[in-house]
């Protein structure tokens, strides 16, 4: 019996040793292999995010050594607020498995998600690369000194104009270098065309505030929604008044066709030569190319006009990709690698852009300073009659206005401000009444906000 137990003890010791050694071997092997586990990277996007797959999927194929069985999927959402809603609901419900690995987002909604701890801090990763990126690329993702998203694009406000119309009515487009000149051109177009040709459009919904306000005239006018202490001053700020009065002048004088953007009616008006210009972000390129093919070769672009007294061009609009801070976020490193190559890999970026051009699909100029030096980014554009849209997009970023300060309550503020602007566009109130109501409602419904430096 003693021999039996002795033998059993020896066997146990040997077995335990074997298990320990085997486990250590596996652990060492796992650590040294550095391969990402099998699965699917899920990213939430909006606009036309599916075209990113044409870059990311080939990238995964090229990197099977580190991601042998990883695939990627991009889920289309309605917009940034919808992304935030989905994330918030999954987070509140504790359904972490339902959270995506990353998502595209705008600064307004990023602030809250970062404040709530839903996104990873990527300061260490991005800050070491800022000297390789275009100016202010990570600005709007920087909150209290920390960077919470990877910059994907930095696109300026621009002025698109139909050269054919300007030739027809013998108007020099260079006069639109200033907003005051832009308005004068609109008046002349209206007069010479007997009211047929509008300077531009105005959307009856929330996109007027988005494109003419927050992203457009407001930053260029150095306008403020909040003072430095967080109190609403939009109704007393001289910059805000300058911006709104410019819009009012164009609209009240009948220079803007009232029609919803991104709708067939607008595209029909463009194709029929009824709209001469678009004061809007560079993203409009993809919509113009895709929906207004009858005007191929007619359009040109130039930097956004400036207010004479301020002399600032359009504020850049940045889009970011943020990594979700969730338990077991195994693909964080892989997403960073993908982003890094998307940003800095010249060969494959150009290849992707060429495929986008063939598909009339969206793409943006790179944010890499080095990549932008390549002559590829100055190639002529067929849709713009041989003018290089890419080159103009690069030029339009110069002397750009700083964006409006973003606070945690800006999503609600946008609703309040837009509501007043919509009533103004609907003819229910004057611009003065709208501005006054904006201030009152911001104070009543929000009060003081925390201004994030």
């Amino acid at each position: 019996m003693k021999k039996f137990f002795s033998l059993l003890l020896v066997c146990s010791i040997l077995l335990s040793s074997f298990v320990i050694v085997f486990s250590n071997v596996n652990t060492v092997a796992s650590a040294s292999s550095n391969k990402y586990p099998e699965g699917t990277i899920e990213i939430y996007g909006y606009g036309q995010p599916q075209y990113f797959l044409k870059y990311y999927r080939p990238w995964l194929e090229r990197n099977r050594d580190i991601a042998p069985k990883v695939s990627i999927d991009i889920v289309q959402t309605e917009g940034a607020a919808d992304v935030r809603e989905k994330l918030t609901m999954s987070y509140v419900a504790g359904a972490y498995d339902d959270l995506p690995d990353a998502f595209y987002i705008d600064p307004v909604n990023l602030v809250n998600l970062a404040d709530g701890g839903l996104v990873q801090d990527v300061t260490d990763f991005v800050s070491s690369l800022t000297d390789k990126l275009v100016d202010n690329a990570a600005n709007d993702a920087t909150i209290n000194g920390s960077i919470y998203a990877l910059p994907e694009s930095v696109r300026p406000q621009m002025l698109y104009y139909n050269q054919k119309i300007f030739n027809e009515y013998n108007i020099d487009p260079e006069r639109m270098n200033t907003i005051e000149g832009y308005i004068e051109v609109g008046r002349e177009l209206k007069e010479k065309s007997n009211g047929k040709v509008y300077l531009s459009y105005i959307d009856p919904g929330s996109r007027t505030w988005r494109y003419y306000g927050r992203r457009g005239l407001m930053p260029q006018a150095k306008a403020k929604i909040w003072d430095d202490n967080g109190y609403p001053i939009i109704d007393t700020d001289p910059g805000a008044r300058l911006a709104f009065e410019a819009l009012d002048t164009m609209y009240s004088e009948g220079l803007l066709l009232k029609t919803a953007i991104f709708q067939p009616a607008l595209y029909d008006a463009v194709n029929n030569g009824e709209i001469a210009t678009f004061y809007i972000g560079a993203f409009w390129d993809e919509f113009l190319r895709k929906n207004c093919t009858e005007t191929l070769g007619d359009w040109r672009v130039m930097p956004a006009p400036v207010f004479k007294s301020i002399n600032l061009r359009g504020a850049p609009v940045s889009q970011y990709i943020a990594i979700v801070d969730k338990p077991n976020a195994v693909y964080s490193g892989l997403i960073k690698k993908m982003w890094y190559d998307f940003t800095f890999d010249i060969e494959h970026k150009e290849k992707w852009v060429r495929s986008m051009v063939r598909l009339d699909a969206p793409y943006a100029n790179p944010i890499s300073v080095e990549m932008l030096k390549d002559e590829f980014w100055e190639e002529p554009s067929i849709f713009y009659g041989g003018q290089s849209f890419r080159k103009m997009e690069k030029i339009a970023l110069r002397n750009g206005a700083p964006n409006l300060v973003v606070t945690a309550q800006d999503a609600e503020a946008d609703i309040i401000i837009s509501n007043e602007l919509e009533k103004y566009v609907a003819g229910v109130q004057t611009i003065d009444e709208a501005i006054k109501a904006m201030g009152e409602n911001l104070r009543n419904k929000i009060g003081k906000v925390e201004v994030i430096k």
């Binding site: 839903l118 009856p204 709708q263 067939p264 029909d268 945690a408 919509e422 009533k423 566009v425």
Partner: protein, 291 residues
Amino acid sequence: MRLINTLRKHKVPYLFILPFFILFSIFQLYPIVWTVWVSLTKWNGIKQPVFIGLNNYNLLLNDYMFTDAFFNTVVYWVTGVIFIIILSLGIASLLNYNNLKGKGFFKVVTFLPNVSAAIAIGIIFSMLFDKNIGIINEVISLFGINKIGWLTTVKYSKIPVIILNIWRNTPWFTLIILSGLLNIPEEYYEAARIDGANKIQQFFKITLPNLTDILFFCFIILTVNSWKIFNESYILKGPSTSNMSLFQYMYQSGFTAFKMGYASAIGVVLIIILAIVSVVQFILMRKNSEI
């Protein structure tokens, strides 16, 4: 003790209904209680809620957006109840006509709007009502009427929502009323005809009285649905809050502005409104039954 004795005596039926009440408590009662609690907080959905008492309700009472949404919803409710029930009753009566040829075909066609995807129909309606290229404006232009900015003016923006709501919901209630019509004994009409009653008299003396319960049911369902109207006003959005429904405003407050506490307060108000309306309806229904 009396309750315990009752439970012991009738334990079987109580056990049978127990699962429902368990599910009700988990999926309805608890969420309602939780909503009431959240309505007393300031919460963006991510960070910890902060108790603020009745501030959300005070804010709500002074919020023109809430007021606009409330009255818009009242309009949708009233117009929905009136037009849907009248149209449903009329269409059901026609479908129930004995000499109608191809009755099956017409029933199917009548029901099609109800099974169409709300989003798709909304997009089509937004094109129909477009000021510049919409076919509705093209038609009225033929009669010398100026084009109307249906979705771009405060004055008219509720009309497309009302029409879409009526168009989508009439088929369902037509089906319900038709089932009621089919249950009215033909002998009633025969007796009436023998007594010399014409079609109109038959309708008001026989059809309507026999459909009272069905119509009350439709009224209740329509009321609840009207106060929950969302898709139609969301897709056919007009300027500002000109055609925004209360449910839509609650959604916007919660998932666009991310003011969960405020959105919950709106939700609580909706619950109260529906509760009051339902109680009134049941009281009226009971009185009508007693008569």
